[in-house]
């Protein structure tokens, strides 16, 4: 009875694992590799699966045999041996040899993961709570990439889009066949940039730089997620890499550069309340909403309400300071001056002072923000 069950379990284990080795789709196994690194990891894992699977079969097989045969109910008389130096040496040395055999390819894989030199282009990736920023260092432009599928809230059963939680407003566009070096850092807490098919996972450490590399084989969309717990919305900061042929990439890049040149705001421009408020709403929903919430009510105990806040409704200098320089008390409230343009900050502050139940009617102009730059918090 008991042995039957054990047999059954190990059979299931084996079947599942062998399908895992053969399976093309990602249901039972690592996702299909799209870079040399990912292939290396995939093959290494397959090898490990075989080795460990065989060890498991061997161990459980011998144990099952004993369980079936050497049982009291079969009147098997127990022997009394309890030592045998030879077998003990054998089963110390053989695992050692197996491990040595694993260590060799494993070492080579580690070394190639680490060889980040000789890159064709460099992307700086910055993790923020809860979004990624990509800077094309060779071309001097960059953008922020946010989750773009809707949050379902608590409404269950609503039809979810195909790439639920794995879609962003601006993917990282890259050329295929080029060695891309990533320079990772973070702004607030540790994040981790992980795209399974590219074979890359690297923590982004605030205040420090880390690097990683990959070279995408063929065009396609590759999706991943932040994989280091980074607070409330850790599950909501996806990564999408859009790999294009070098020609397509060049076209995209030129368009992007042109756009960057025209979109720059005139810092001296004086805005109207309505225009700033509208722009501020966008800035707010992209940057401030996760913490302070769309309702402006915050999350009691974690993030203060802005609706009715004495700071937001009081003297504007204090409001400007906390948004521009961040909070001294709680690092979660970051120094937005480093991330957002003068116009954006002016817009979001204007928005906050004129949204929900706040009706100050005040307009903050970009020039006032500009004046803060250079002064220290």
């Amino acid at each position: 009875m008991s042995c039957l069950r054990l047999c059954g379990i190990s059979a299931i284990w084996f079947v599942l694992h062998s399908t895992a080795v053969q399976g093309e789709t990602a249901a039972f196994n690592l996702q299909a590799p799209a870079t040399s690194l990912a292939r290396l990891e995939y093959d290494l894992h397959s090898m490990l699966l075989w080795v460990t699977g065989l060890i498991f079969l061997l161990v459980s097989g011998v144990m099952l045999f004993a369980i079936v045969r050497h049982r009291k109910s079969r009147a098997y008389r127990a022997r009394t041996f309890h030592e045998n130096t030879t077998v003990e040496i054998i089963w110390t040395v053989i695992p050692l040899l197996i491990l040595l055999a694993i260590a060799w390819p494993a070492t080579r894989a580690v070394l190639s993961q680490k060889s980040t030199h000789g890159e064709d282009m460099t992307i700086r990736i910055t993790g923020y709570q809860w979004k990624w920023r990509y800077d094309y260092l060779d071309d001097n432009f960059g953008f922020v990439s946010h989750l773009s599928t809707p949050r379902t809230g608590t409404a269950a059963g609503a039809a979810l889009p195909e790439h639920y939680l794995l879609e962003v407003d601006e993917p990282l566009v890259l050329p295929t066949g080029r060695k891309v070096r990533l320079l990772l850092t973070a702004n607030d807490v540790i994040h981790s940039w992980w795209v399974p098919q590219l074979g890359v996972k690297q923590d982004a450490i605030p205040g420090f730089l880390r690097d990683a590399w990959f070279m995408v084989d063929k065009p396609g969309i590759y999706r991943g997620q932040c994989s280091e717990l980074c607070g409330k919305d850790h599950g909501f900061m996806p990564i999408v890499v859009d790999a294009r042929s070098p020609e397509d990439y060049a076209r995209w890049r030129d368009a992007r550069l042109k756009q960057a040149a025209t979109a720059a705001d005139d810092p001296a421009k004086a805005w109207t309340l309505a225009a700033l408020r509208q722009r501020g709403e966008t800035v707010y929903s992209q940057n401030c909403l996760p913490c302070h919430q769309a309702s402006g009510k915050g999350i009691p105990g974690n993030f203060p309400a802005l609706d009715g806040s004495p700071v937001v409704n009081g003297d504007k200098a204090a409001h400007l300071r906390i948004v521009f320089f961040g909070s001294q008390r709680n690092p979660a409230m970051q120094a937005w001056g480093k991330q957002l343009s003068d116009t954006d900050i002016a817009a979001v502050i204007t928005y906050e002072r004129n949204a929900w139940g706040n009706h100050s009617g005040q307009v903050i102009q970009p020039a006032e923000i500009h004046a803060l730059r250079g002064s220290s918090g």
């Binding site: 069950r5 379990i9 990602a26 039972f28 196994n29 690592l30 996702q31 290396l40 990891e41 290494l44 894992h45 490990l48 460990t52 060890i55 498991f56 161990v59 011998v62 144990m63 004993a66 050497h70 009291k72 098997y76 022997r79 041996f81 309890h82 030592e83 077998v87 089963w91 695992p95 491990l99 694993i102 260590a103 894989a109 580690v110 680490k114 809230g153 269950a156 979810l160 195909e162 939680l165 807490v189 540790i190 981790s192 992980w194 074979g199 690297q202 450490i205 605030p206 205040g207 420090f208 880390r210 994989s227 717990l229 980074c230 607070g231 850790h234 599950g235 105990g301 974690n302 690092p331």
Partner: protein
């Protein structure tokens, strides 16, 4: 071998104290052990309910029951409560109950301090649970409490930090007690190299605890300083380093996982020989293997940090060292199997749990070896594969061994037999649903599902469903255990002094249930390996 006389002139205050005072002021290792075990079981239920909350939320994509910030608190507290509230106290409780009986000691070396070790647990756990209701909620940075995230959190984090301080004091005192009892209170004739493996395992575990709990205390104290006193230990702007936290934490954390594994090894090394009716195979190599695990566990911590970006040489060093641990652990597994080999086995509940342990712990160990290969860990770190790995070693490892131990020693502790049929049901139920719960998590991890997320992409739905169903069924099965224990405590069949044919360690040589005071003065023993008693004489009034 008459022990009745031995117990008659036990300790002077032979009368049992009564009422609440018996428990609150206890100095008796059996009373304190019982409190530890009950406390641990309650915490297991609490931690389990948190796990069920997690599984309920993950039953389908979308947010159903909990907001993300609350979900992270559930995960964090599930981990902390299971590790510090359930598994560690349960092992300490068992050591309290059984060690003196197994090595012929009158009690623990410091009986009063022993009581303090226990009574520090309820306050610490109260602080942890209290943190759910303070503004900002409980700590939400994972049980690893990584800075700088833990520097951001609300006052729940402060409660957690102080709870950890108290837990640390408790475990260190408990561990000192265990070490000193084993070194100094063995009955004459119980040589170190003849001690039961459980005593060896407890000894080395206790040593690990004394060595690493202070390190954890240091780590969380620095977090506290960063939070409130303006320091920048984990902040580059002030010359600190977030990764430093991880080094300090895992210097504690990796030995910690062996703190939850070694006593399990010890239990299995008592149970298997008993039901195989054959002495433990390779006793001395077991001792050496356990010791080398104890030593190696200090040299592998950075395998939890392969993707933090360390130099290739460091990755390689930690990879090799980690892989090396498979060797002594393998020695243990092989020794257990060799013990079963050509034994005369019977399969009562303790034996079933011990066999389940070996089978499933091996799976967990082998997935550990897969993780230890740094290049592969790049894909698996921070994914559900890791969750699968550690539940195989923690639930099917630590927890199953604890069930095995409780069934095994239940007659000696209570004087009654548990209900065998319910025990068998508990085992098969747990075995089945455990695998249904945690096996699919390997696939989830491989396919790219990160851990610690309240909501997931659609392709992960099926396996999450299966895991959630499994978890609820597994949890339900634990009620069988509770019912069995509660029923048997009052109505179980009266147990003989020697309920297991093959058990021949010291605790089985005294009356059942174990008398309130035992082995004072200690008996004169003649022993063989693994604590087997060859003869015992009352040493009388020396």
């Amino acid at each position: 071998m008459d022990l009745a006389s031995n117990t008659a002139h036990g300790m002077v205050s032979a009368h049992k104290p009564q009422g609440l005072a018996r428990w609150l002021f206890a100095t008796n290792h059996k009373d304190i052990g019982s409190m530890y075990l009950w406390f641990a079981f309650c915490m297991f239920l609490v931690g389990g309910v948190l796990a069920l909350c997690i599984r309920a939320e993950l039953f389908s994509p979308g947010l159903q029951f909990f907001q993300p910030e609350l979900f992270n608190q559930l995960t964090t507290l599930h981990g902390l409560i299971m590790v510090f509230g359930a598994i560690m106290p349960a092992f300490t409780g068992l050591a309290n109950w059984m060690l003196p009986l197994m090595i012929g000691a009158p009690d623990m070396a410091f009986a009063r301090m022993n009581n303090w070790s226990f009574w520090l647990l309820p306050p610490a756990m109260t602080l942890l649970l209290l943190s759910f209701i303070v503004p900002g909620g409980a700590a939400a940075a994972g049980w690893t409490l990584y800075a700088p995230l833990s520097v951001q959190l609300g006052m729940g984090m402060d409660l957690t930090i102080f709870a950890i301080h108290i837990l640390g004091i408790s475990s260190i005192m408990g561990a000192i007690n265990i070490v000193v009892t084993i070194i100094n209170l063995r009955a004459p004739g119980m040589r170190m190299m003849n001690m039961p493996m459980f005593a060896w395992a407890s000894l080395i575990t206790a040593y690990l605890i004394i060595a690493v709990m202070p390190v954890l205390a240091g780590a969380v104290t620095m977090v506290l300083a960063d939070r409130h006193f303006g320091s920048h230990f984990f902040n580059a702007a002030g010359g600190g380093d977030p990764v430093l936290y991880q080094h300090v934490f895992w210097f504690f954390g990796h030995p910690e996982v062996y703190i939850m594994a070694l006593p399990a090894f010890g239990i299995v090394s008592q149970v298997i020989p008993t039901f195989a009716r054959k002495p433990l195979f390779g006793y001395s190599s077991m001792v050496y293997a356990t010791s080398s695990i104890g030593v190696l566990s200090f040299m592998v911590w950075a395998h939890h940090m392969f993707v933090t970006g360390m130099p290739a040489t460091a990755q390689l060093f930690f990879m090799y060292a980690t892989m090396l641990i498979a060797v002594p652990t393998g020695v243990k597994v092989f020794n257990w199997i060799a013990t079963m080999w050509q034994g005369s086995m019977s399969f009562e509940t303790p034996m079933l749990f011990a066999i389940g342990f070996i089978l499933l712990f091996t799976i967990g160990g082998l997935s550990g070896v897969t993780l230890s290969v740094a290049a592969v860990d790049v894909q698996l770190h921070g994914s559900y594969y890791v969750v699968a790995h550690f539940h195989y070693v923690l639930v099917a490892g630590a927890l199953f061994s604890l069930f095995s131990a409780v069934y095994y020693w239940f007659p000696k502790m209570t004087g009654r037999m548990y209900v065998e049929r319910l025990g068998q049901l508990h085992f098969w139920w747990s075995l089945l649903w455990f695998n249904v719960t945690f096996f699919p998590m390997h696939f989830l991890g491989l396919a790219g599902m990160p851990r610690r997320i309240p909501d997931y992409a659609l392709q992960f739905t099926d396996f999450n469903r299966i895991a959630s169903i499994g978890a609820f069924m597994f949890g339900l099965g634990q009620l069988i255990f509770l019912v069995n224990i509660l029923y048997s405590l009052r109505h179980g069949k009266t147990a003989p002094q020697q309920p297991w044919e093959g058990a021949n360690t010291l605790e089985w040589q005294i009356p059942t249930p174990a008398p309130y005071h035992s082995f004072n003065p200690p008996p004169q023993l003649e022993t063989a390996e693994n604590g087997v008693v060859l003869s015992m004489r009352d040493s009388g009034q020396a």
